[in-house]
C-alpha cells in the first residue's frame, strides 16, 4: 500500500486533529471514533453497490431496519443473543438481497439513474410500510448487560461496546480486500467495477457479479443490524437517516475508495462529537457533518480542475 504526498499530508493532518482532540477531550475522541465507525460500517455496503453496480440504493437504510428487526425477532422468540444472531440474520439478508436484486434491481441496471433511484425509493417505501404492518410503529429494545459496559484507563472512563463497530468495519474491509485480490470472483468483481463492458467481452458473467455484490452488501447490513441491536431502539424509520449519511461518506471518500470510508467516517464522527460536547450547540452537529462534506467535495473538485 503506497500513498501519494497529497494523501500523506491529509493523513498527517487528520492524525494531528485526532491527537489534539484526544488531549483536549478524550471522551469526545472515543465517542467520535465509535459513532464514526458505526457510520462507516453502515456506509461500506452502499459504497460497494454504488462502486460496482453504479446504483445508488435509496433503500439502504430500510434494509438495515429489516436486519435489526430480524435480529430482534431471534432475540425475542429464541432468546438468541444479538451478537450471535449476526450469523443467521446475515444469511437471511444475503438471500433476501439476492431475491430483491433478481426481481427488481436487475431489471433497471441498464436503465438511467432516475429509474434506479425511483425503483430503490419504491423498495424503501415498501420495506418501511411492511415493517410498520408487521411490528407497528412502537419502538422495541433488547437488554444485554454488555451493551453499556465501561472501562477505565487511569481517570479516563469510556463505554466499550461502540468499539465493536470499528472492529466490524476493519474486518469487513480486510475481507473485501482479500476477496477482491485473492479470489477469482473478487478479481471479476474488480474488473466489472472498472469496466463492465470490457469484463463482459472477456467472458465474465457480469450479472452474477452484480447479484453477488448486491447480496453481500445486504448481508453486511445484517451483520451491522445484529451489532447495533443491543444499543439501539428499533422502530420502522430507524435505518432511514443512515441512507443519506452513508451516501455522504461514500461521496466524501470518493467512488470505490472503501478504506477512505472508514477514515472519513471517523473524522466526521469526531467532528460531530465535538459539536455535541459544546453546550448549547448540539443542534449544529448535522450542519457541521454535511458542511465538512461539502468542503471536502469542493476542495477535491478544485484540485482536479487544476
Amino acid at each position: 500500500m503506497s500513498f501519494s504526498i497529497k494523501e500523506n499530508k491529509t493523513i498527517l493532518f487528520a492524525l494531528a486533529f485526532i491527537i489534539i482532540v484526544g488531549f483536549w477531550q478524550p471522551n469526545v475522541l472515543m465517542d467520535g471514533i465509535q459513532r464514526g465507525s458505526m457510520y462507516a460500517v453502515i456506509a461500506l455496503p452502499l459504497a460497494l453497490v454504488l462502486g460496482i453496480l453504479g446504483v445508488l440504493n435509496l433503500a439502504h437504510g430500510e434494509f438495515l431496519t429489516v436486519g435489526l428487526y430480524i435480529s430482534y425477532m431471534f432475540y425475542n422468540r429464541f432468546n438468541l443473543d444479538p451478537l450471535l444472531s449476526i450469523i443467521p440474520v446475515s444469511i437471511i439478508l444475503l438471500v433476501f438481497g439476492g431475491l430483491i436484486y433478481l426481481l427488481t434491481v436487475k431489471r433497471v441496471i441498464k436503465e438511467g439513474h432516475l429509474n434506479q433511484l425511483l425503483l430503490t425509493f419504491g423498495i424503501s417505501m415498501i420495506l418501511l410500510e411492511g415493517v410498520k404492518m408487521i411490528w407497528t410503529t412502537r419502538p422495541r429494545n433488547v437488554f444485554t448487560d454488555y451493551a453499556y459496559a465501561s472501562a477505565s484507563i487511569g481517570e479516563f472512563s469510556f463505554g466499550t461496546y461502540g468499539l465493536i463497530y470499528l472492529l466490524i468495519a476493519v474486518l469487513v474491509l480486510v475481507f473485501l480486500q482479500l476477496f477482491l485480490k485473492k479470489t477469482r470472483l473478487g478479481q471479476a468483481t474488480f474488473a466489472v467495477g472498472q469496466n463492465p463492458k470490457g469484463a463482459r467481452i472477456v467472458g465474465i458473467n457480469v450479472n452474477l457479479v452484480y447479484l453477488f455484490v448486491f447480496s453481500i452488501s445486504i448481508a453486511i447490513l445484517g451483520i451491522v443490524g445484529g451489532a447495533m441491536l443491543p444499543r439501539t431502539a428499533i422502530f420502522p424509520a430507524v435505518g432511514s437517516p443512515y441512507s443519506l449519511k452513508s451516501f455522504a461518506l461514500a461521496a466524501m471518500a470518493g467512488l470505490g475508495n472503501l478504506n477512505g470510508i472508514l477514515f472519513a467516517g471517523i473524522i466526521l464522527g469526531i467532528g460531530e462529537a465535538i459539536i455535541n460536547a459544546i453546550p448549547g450547540y448540539s443542534g449544529w452537529a448535522d450542519l457541521v457533518f454535511f458542511g465538512v462534506l461539502i468542503i471536502v467535495i469542493l476542495t477535491r473538485a478544485f484540485r482536479e480542475a487544476r
Binding site: 469526545v28 429494545n141 459496559a149 465501561s150 444499543r231 431502539a233 455535541n276 452537529a285
Partner: protein
C-alpha cells in the same frame, strides 16, 4: 271531495308517524377521529368501541342504539381535518370525539367551528389549541389537561413530595430536551417556570432553585447519541433530571447514563409514549414518569379495575398508555350526560355536559370547569408515576398513590 281530503290527511298522518318512528330507531352516531396506525390511537379506539358495546348491551341511550364511526387521522393534520368533514357530511354523526396530537387538532379546530356540533375531545395538550378554540365555543368540551395545567400539577406534586420526604431535594433541575418542537417547547415551559420561581411565583416557586438545560438529537430523528449531554448533566449534578424526548430515546439514554456513571437523585422521563416492554427492562427500575393513569390504579380504584378487566377480557392485551382509559372515559362521559339530559338536543345537552360528573377509570372524577380560555375543561392534573420492579406505580397524588416513592435513583 271531503272523502278524498280525509284519506289524504290520514295518509299524511300515517307517513309522519312512520317517519318519526324510524327516526326514533336510528342510532345515535358518534364520530371519532384517532390515529389508528399508532398503538396509542388504536387502543384508545378499542376502548371507545368497548364503551359503546357496553352501552348497547345495557339498552343503548334514550332507547336508541349507539354507533361509533371511526376515521383514521394518520397523525396528519390534513387527514384529521378531512375526517371531521367526512363525519359531518357523509356519516352525519351527532357528536365528535377523539383524538390526539395538538398539531392534528389545530388543523381540525376551524372545521369543528364550521359545524359547531357538540365535541368532547380527549387529547391535545398545547395551549395554542386552546387559544384556537377560543372562549365562545360552548359546544367544545376538552378532557386532557393543557400543557400549563400539567406544569402546574408537576409543581404541586413535587412540592408535596418534598414536604413528605424531608431527605429528598428537588431544587436543582436539569432538563434534557430533544431538538425538535416538542423538546424545545418543553424547555421554554421549564425556563418560564424557573423564571417565575425566581420571582416567587408559579408552580415551582417553593422548590426550584437552579435550572439548566441541554438539547440532544432524538433517536426518532436519526440521533441516539446522548453521552455528551449526559456528561454535562453529570457535571451539573442535578437533584431532578428530566428528559423530554420520544419513546425511542428511553432505553438507549438510560443505558448511556449508566455507561457514563450518571445517577441523579430522581430520573424523570417525559416522552409522549414509552417503548414496548419498557417496564420489563432492568434499566427502567426507579424511572419516574408523568401520566394520567397507571395499571396499578386497579388496586385503589374500582372503575379502573372494571375498565382493566373488561378491556383485557375483550382484546387479550393490556392497555399500553392512559389513552385507552381516556378513550373509554370520552364515550362514557358523553353517554352519562345524554342520559342525564334525557335528550340529544344541543342546548340541553350542553347544560348537562357542564354539570355531569363521571367517576373515570383514570382514578379521578371528570367534571368540567373553565380553564384559561375555554369554558369546559375536564381534567386539570397529571399524576407522578414510577416504574418499580417492572410495574408502573402512582406515587402522587397521595390519595390514589399505590406505592411510596423510591429514591435515590441508582443502577
Amino acid at each position: 271531495m271531503k272523502k278524498k281530503l280525509l284519506v289524504s290527511m290520514v295518509l299524511i298522518l300515517f307517513l309522519t308517524l312512520t317517519a318519526a318512528s324510524v327516526q326514533a330507531q336510528d342510532p345515535i352516531k358518534i364520530g371519532a377521529v384517532n390515529p389508528l396506525g399508532d398503538i396509542t390511537g388504536r387502543q384508545s379506539t378499542q376502548a371507545m368501541e368497548l364503551a359503546v358495546e357496553q352501552i348497547n348491551e345495557n339498552g343503548g341511550l334514550l332507547g336508541r342504539k349507539v354507533e361509533l364511526v371511526v376515521v383514521d387521522s394518520e397523525l396528519r393534520p390534513e387527514k384529521g381535518a378531512g375526517a371531521i368533514d367526512k363525519l359531518a357530511t357523509i356519516d352525519k354523526v351527532d357528536f365528535f370525539v377523539g383524538g390526539m396530537s395538538s398539531g392534528v387538532h389545530m388543523a381540525q379546530i376551524p372545521t369543528l367551528k364550521k359545524y359547531k356540533k357538540i365535541t368532547v375531545w380527549a387529547g391535545a395538550a398545547s395551549h395554542q389549541a386552546e387559544n384556537a378554540v377560543g372562549k365562545d365555543a360552548d359546544w367544545y368540551f376538552h378532557l386532557h389537561p393543557w400543557d400549563y395545567q400539567q406544569g402546574a400539577s408537576y409543581g404541586r406534586g413535587w412540592t408535596q413530595i418534598a414536604e413528605k420526604y424531608p431527605d429528598l431535594k428537588v431544587g436543582k433541575v436539569f432538563l434534557a430536551y430533544e431538538e425538535g418542537a416538542f423538546g424545545s417547547d418543553s424547555y421554554k415551559a421549564y425556563e418560564q417556570m424557573f423564571e417565575s420561581a425566581e420571582d416567587g411565583e408559579g408552580p415551582f416557586k417553593d422548590i426550584m432553585d437552579e435550572f439548566k438545560g441541554a438539547s440532544f438529537k432524538s433517536a426518532a430523528a436519526g440521533g441516539g447519541e446522548y453521552r455528551a449531554m449526559l456528561r454535562q448533566a453529570k457535571e451539573y449534578n442535578p437533584d431532578l433530571f428530566i428528559w423530554a424526548g420520544y419513546d425511542a430515546d428511553a432505553i438507549p439514554m438510560l443505558g448511556q447514563a449508566r455507561e457514563v456513571g450518571f445517577e441523579p437523585s430522581l430520573y424523570v422521563g417525559a416522552p409522549p409514549g414509552w417503548p414496548k416492554n419498557f417496564d420489563s427492562n432492568p434499566l427502567s427500575d426507579g424511572v419516574i414518569l408523568y401520566g394520567m393513569w397507571a395499571p396499578a390504579l386497579n388496586k385503589v380504584s374500582e372503575p379502573a379495575k372494571e375498565f382493566w378487566d373488561a378491556y383485557v377480557g375483550k382484546y387479550q392485551e393490556k392497555p399500553a398508555t392512559y389513552f385507552a382509559p381516556l378513550g373509554y372515559t370520552n364515550i362514557m362521559y358523553l353517554a352519562k350526560a345524554i342520559e342525564d339530559a334525557g335528550t340529544i338536543e344541543k342546548a340541553e345537552l350542553i347544560k348537562s355536559l357542564k354539570t355531569t360528573k363521571y367517576e373515570s377509570p383514570l382514578g379521578s372524577t371528570l367534571e368540567m370547569s373553565p380553564s384559561n380560555v375555554i369554558q369546559n375543561q375536564g381534567f386539570t392534573e397529571q399524576k407522578i408515576l414510577q416504574y418499580q420492579d417492572g410495574e408502573q406505580q402512582v406515587v402522587w397524588p397521595f390519595d390514589v398513590s399505590t406505592a411510596e416513592l423510591k429514591f435515590p435513583f441508582s443502577w
